[in-house]
Symmetry: C2
Subunit: 139 residues, 2 copies
């Protein structure tokens, strides 16, 4: 298997404050995002902070997803890292709706061995940084 | 608390093939990297793949660390995501040695709400993408 992986870096703004401070909801939405992209869960870890905020990760056979929420600011940071040819973008869209985000920002970077990247005419950051699209255009 | 977070994106090349296929070693080195940056562990999930490879995440009070290994290629991808003012770079250096990496590549991006970023004259990707340094210069 080659080492090429896609890594989505997602920022969600003006999210639903109740949802993003709810451990069970966050876990459920992250597992749903995992299912949406067709990934296989092999581990997970979620934590609720006092007084507020949730962090969590889902380890998948194809790498991982992570989430950190700042309910006091309505802000959520998500990463979706997939190898094996999985498209992570449907997971981004699923979470935008599930978190009640008023706005979002999405970027994709490429990870992997230089030889694998070169063979596919891809390069690591910063050359390969892409703003895939404004969210409105993607939906 | 502001939403500013530092996110290190690290690639390790020519790693020790035995170490990076050893679940216990990877878990131990990731927890040590967490300790080196002064972070507090609140959860973890590690998985060994068949026939080879290890993936894992450590959820910390200050966000998370993740690792994915490709023993067949000697390649390892790591993320160290820290909020609360923690410097993630000592964790990167710790793992470079622990994984027996012959070479590595490190980049830092900044995450957070636009207002918080602007107040500190920082911007999100791609403007803020930085190649911090060649590894040899950092040590």
């Amino acid at each position: 298997m080659n080492t090429i992986a896609r890594h989505l870096i997602a920022e969600y703004y003006r999210c639903d404050l109740e949802i993003i401070d709810d451990l069970d909801a966050i876990r459920r939405h992250m597992l749903a995002a995992t299912a949406v992209i067709g990934a296989t869960v092999v581990g997970e870890a979620f934590h609720k902070f006092d007084p507020q905020g949730v962090s969590g990760t889902v380890v998948i056979a194809e790498s991982h997803l992570s989430i950190h929420t700042w309910p006091e600011s309505g802000y959520v940071a998500v990463d979706i890292f997939t190898c094996g040819g999985l498209d992570p973008r449907p997971g981004f869209l699923h979470l935008k709706e599930a978190l009640g985000a008023g706005d979002a920002r999405l970027q994709e970077i490429v990870r992997g061995l230089p030889d694998d990247l070169e063979a596919r005419d891809r390069t690591l950051l910063p050359d390969d940084v892409q703003i895939i699209t404004e969210v409105g255009q993607l939906v």
